[in-house]
């Protein structure tokens, strides 16, 4: 069952077409990845689905609700982690979550949410004092104060070390297990392959292909594609993680 339906979506900035008539569906409960080089239109697409950016033409339905006509209803149903989001300087994590709860006119239990993202002992710290991975986890926590049905993550693991990245993947899988749908963008192919149930690859405002990672690889091999290098059983990341371990580091 589709929780998000995108039909012929177009976004233009002057003469430049950022999103050029794309259509796709996101199924309920899946982790859906949007891949593509910088400027491909990933963030613009996400922000239109989230109701943050005006839609030039086309239609988006989220849980059956038209985004263009009801942007505020949509905001109650979704949680958004922006590419670079920052928080108020002089409030600690607990106070920030309480404040964000008030934006939804909801009384929340900040400690419960902090426990879910393993930041209980940082409740009295400010965001500035957190490590990169902790910051991203808190950013996701702030997107979950309203118990959203769809969670949007814009490049959630950019800038994290391999351990923190893997930790965040587990964390995102747990969110999925609670029945939530996750839509994310990424630059890391490995992340897309490991984490995403289905992937859309975008370039120049269009979707080039959309399928499961396995099918995408299979289809490529069918065309007779061969890697020039000899296929190795391990790569540098395996070497690195083998030496340093999978354990999460908190600086």
């Amino acid at each position: 069952m589709a929780i998000i339906e995108v039909k012929n979506l177009v976004k233009k900035y002057g003469k430049f077409t950022a999103v050029d008539g794309i259509s796709f569906e996101v199924k309920k409960g899946e982790i859906f990845g949007i891949l593509g080089p910088n400027g491909a239109g990933k963030t613009t697409t996400l922000e239109m689905i989230e109701g943050l950016r005006e839609i030039n033409s086309g239609e988006i339905l989220l849980d059956g609700i038209n985004v263009k006509d009801n942007p505020n209803d949509i905001k109650r149903l979704i949680g958004i982690q922006l590419q670079s989001s920052s928080f108020f300087d002089h409030l600690n994590l607990k106070e920030l979550l309480t404040l964000f709860g008030s934006f939804y006119n909801q009384k929340i239990n900040p400690m419960e949410i902090l426990a879910e993202v393993e930041l209980t002992d940082k409740a009295k710290s400010t965001v500035k004092s957190l490590s990169g991975g902790q910051k991203q986890r808190f950013s996701i926590a702030s997107a979950m104060v309203n118990d959203p049905i769809v969670l949007f993550l814009d490049e959630p693991t950019t800038g994290l070390d391999p351990q923190a990245r893997r930790h965040l993947w587990n964390f995102i899988r747990q969110i999925q297990k609670k029945g939530k749908t996750v839509v994310l963008t990424t630059h890391y192919m490995e992340e897309a392959e490991e984490l995403c149930d289905r992937i859309a690859i975008m370039d120049r405002g269009k979707i080039l292909t959309l399928d499961t990672p396995e099918n995408l690889i299979k289809n490529l091999l069918k065309t007779g594609f061969k890697k020039k290098k000899i296929i190795q059983e391990a790569n540098m990341e395996d070497v690195f993680l083998n030496l340093t371990g999978h354990g999460l580091r908190e600086e």
């Binding site: 670079s84 709860g101 008030s102 909801q106």
Partner: protein, 360 residues
Amino acid sequence: MQFGQMLLAATKMFYRDKRMLFFSLFIPLVIMSIFGVMDFDKFGTVKLGLVNNQRTEISKRFGQTLEKIKTFQVSQGTEEAEKKALDKGDRDMVLVLPDNFGQFNPRNPQPQNLTLYYNQGRSDRVGAGTMVLEQILSESNFQITKTPRLFNLEKKSVSSQILSYIDFLVPGIAAMMIMQLGIIGVSALITSFKEEGILKRLRATPIQPSIFLFSQVFTRLILLLAQVGVVLVIGIAVFKMHLIGNPLNLVVISILGGIGFLSIGFAISGIAKTRDTAITIAQLIQMPMMFLSGVFFPRESMPEALQKITDYLPLSYLVHAMRELALTNATLLTVQTDVVALAIWAVIGFVLAVKFFRWE
């Protein structure tokens, strides 16, 4: 109530922002303490030479009135002797009363000319002294001519009360605090929200950014009023400032001035893209006003041309109104010029804010 959560958060943010607290409360208190400890009144005494032949009853009374005023250290003598003393620097100003001072032809009263010689090098004292003289003369005017009062303008003898420098200073500092909160406080706050992407993050939630900003600005306005109160109370309790007027009038004029400066702050946050630019623009506007609007010394001591231009600064109106309302029995009606002018500034600021303010 959830709006309460936002006000609570805004309060915490304001009081944990040590830099803002430093500028908004600590600095004004320090300025007041420095000037309060120094015996400025002695320094500020105006040495007035009076040439008075005491030919009339009125001139006698006038001389006695002047003697009673703390601003003046009055010496009497002949015109020649007093002018000599002025040349040597022993007098700041010399007032020459005509022999027929206060005697008017009832059928055809002609204004009398009093001559005032003054030392140009002491413009601050001359300015303060002239102000007091003018006030006394305009009061005598009523008494002598017995003109029926067309307006029941409550001209109180500010002269005998305004004499302490701390009395003069504290209302000025209060006005300065209000200006700073509005201009630099608001523009630095909003531009830093914009710069850090906080406003965008808010747009990802159902809250209207305007409601959030309102909660922030509203909280700050209330906290600022409390701080102005703290400065006034310390001024009265520690430095023996005289608060004569009704404090409620001060609250009203503070809010009116606050709204005007807030909208200027919003306009700056629209023009400036970063917090640093906003602070620079804000300082460029604030610094000249601080010195040209009579916060620290009487504006009368400035060159007349400069006075005429700076009359129109919003801080000039606020300082004047605050001073009148704090140190005299003036009401909002008495300072209606200031009230109207501040309202006009609020409208100008609002129009600029609407024109320039952007959410992103």
